[in-house]
Amino acid sequence: MFNNFPLFPREASSVAGQVDALYFLLLAISGFFAVTISLTIVAFAVKYRRRHALEVGAKIHGSTALEILWSAVPLAIVMGIFVWSSVIFIRISRPPRDAMDIYVVGKQWMWKIQHPDGRREINELHVPVGQPVRLTLASEDVIHDFFVPAFRVKADVVPGRFTTLWFEATKPGRYHFFCAQYCGTEHSGMIGWVDAMTPEDFQAWLAGGAGESLASSGEKLFQELSCNSCHRPDSQGRGPVLDGIYGRPVALEGGGQVIADDSYIRESIVDPQARTVAGYQPIMPTYQGLVTEEGLLQLVAYIKSLGTTGQPTPTPGAPTATDTPHPTPK
């Protein structure tokens, strides 16, 4: 029993060291205050113990200088911690631009993982070391949470929206991931393994079982659902042209604009009327319930793939309403 008794988690991601450094700093500060105050209390208790029954304490009522001192010093300390922890948080929250995408769907009670080129796995996540990985997380049912202790990252997986989580594994190895948000009976069974591999091993693994790529699954779905009858590549459809739209600003009906990112594309499928593209009628029906979360991820991957192949606009100039790649209304 005692041969497997860790007291500290492994450090296996680029942020783990930074989080641990803050942790140790906080341990030091807390330890210092806890020990100092406790010893002071013990010292006072012994030194000023009651010597005879009629003794009373000294007439001391306070000291404003001391109050200011012991408000200001802790305030300064915690503000320092705040700044440091915020810097780490911003780093954890912002995936690098060159991050590799992997799609994760949580459902009661398993994790389904899809790699862009088609490899799928359940409760296992293979990633290369030394390469930032961005997970796009979706849930089929209730809130889950994807948590990799060795990487010091977690994110809630909230139904009805995409959330993201990124990390860069630094050491090859197998690390637990957990569901950290209570999700029902088998919550504690939603455990899996991250398999961090050297890039070569990872490529070999990817090649080992590659099926249909995510984008082509999405393309099939796109046709099955007859999306292509309105969203046509030739700007004659009743819906906006989707080629090259991914990641670009889109002018909205009624003013304003939005970047056509994963979340906006998802929303446009499940709640099309929420933010209609300028110049189009709000005629698209909702596909809520008709497409699974995995299907949504495939569709997003497909539309994303169009962004790299289509390129209908000649120059990606300043993002104004006029140069967004949409036809004028019919």
């Binding site: 709640d271 009327q273 929420a274 709000p282 909702t286 809520q288």
Partner: protein, 224 residues
């Protein structure tokens, strides 16, 4: 609410209660108690207002669409009825301070009448919505503009907010009846009319809540 009623009862006895030193202290405590209670009521409605703000921001068009299906005329009438009832309530409190029994009974009676009128109109509106399958739940049907889910959320909030308000009106009517009986028995004098004052505070509060509910629910995107 039940506690409001219990609260009103707690303030009812004319004699000085054992825990107070003077009638003045007793009166001050009762009034403060009612104000604190009304603060809790604001927070109670506050949760619903918060939900309303979030979803109206998310679904402005669907909320407008849902709102357009509400009957502004009835809503406006109800607003007028409640404002009138606030006036008669204020007059009843004034009559209490004068110790005028007839006016107390008259104005409390009118207030009660307006209260019932409001509830009647509200019940009719609910019935209409029921006929139109606009009561959220399995039988909810919406084929107007907007996202049906979002319109259902609008109607959920509509029923939650107006329903909670109507519940307060029902409790208020109970308080009015109690006060009416007390007034008819001549319990309120120039020296002591605390329950009238406290009941008045409650009634005005319930009116004010409606003054917020009416534009938020009925008047979305209505440009006359």
């Amino acid at each position: 609410m039940a506690d409001a009623q219990a609260h009103a009862q707690d303030l009812e006895p004319t004699a000085l209660q054992h825990q107070f030193d003077s009638l003045e202290q007793q009166f001050d405590a009762s009034v403060l108690g009612m104000w604190v209670f009304l603060v809790t009521e604001i927070m109670f409605f506050g949760g619903l207002f918060m939900a309303y703000i979030v979803y109206r921001t998310w679904y402005p068009d669907s909320f407008a669409a849902g709102s357009h299906h509400l009957d502004v005329t009835l809503g406006m009438t109800n607003t007028m009825v409640l404002i009138a009832s606030s006036l008669t309530m204020a007059l009843a409190v004034w009559a209490g301070q004068q110790g005028n029994r007839f006016r107390q009974v008259l104005f409390l009676g009118l207030t009660l009448l307006f209260g019932f009128a409001f509830l009647g109109i509200k019940a009719y509106e609910y019935w209409e919505k029921f006929q139109d399958h606009l009561v959220p739940g399995p039988n909810f049907v919406w084929d107007g503009p907007g996202n049906p889910h979002a319109v259902q959320i609008f109607y959920s909030l509509y029923f939650a907010m107006t329903g909670l308000h109507a519940l307060h009106m029902v409790v208020g009517a109970g308080i009015m009846i109690t006060l009416l009986v007390m007034a008819a028995r001549g319990r309120f004098t120039r020296q002591w009319s605390t329950p009238l004052e406290i009941g008045g505070l409650y009634w005005h509060f319930v009116d004010i809540v409606w003054i917020f509910l009416f534009p938020l629910l009925y008047l979305i995107e209505r440009h006359v």
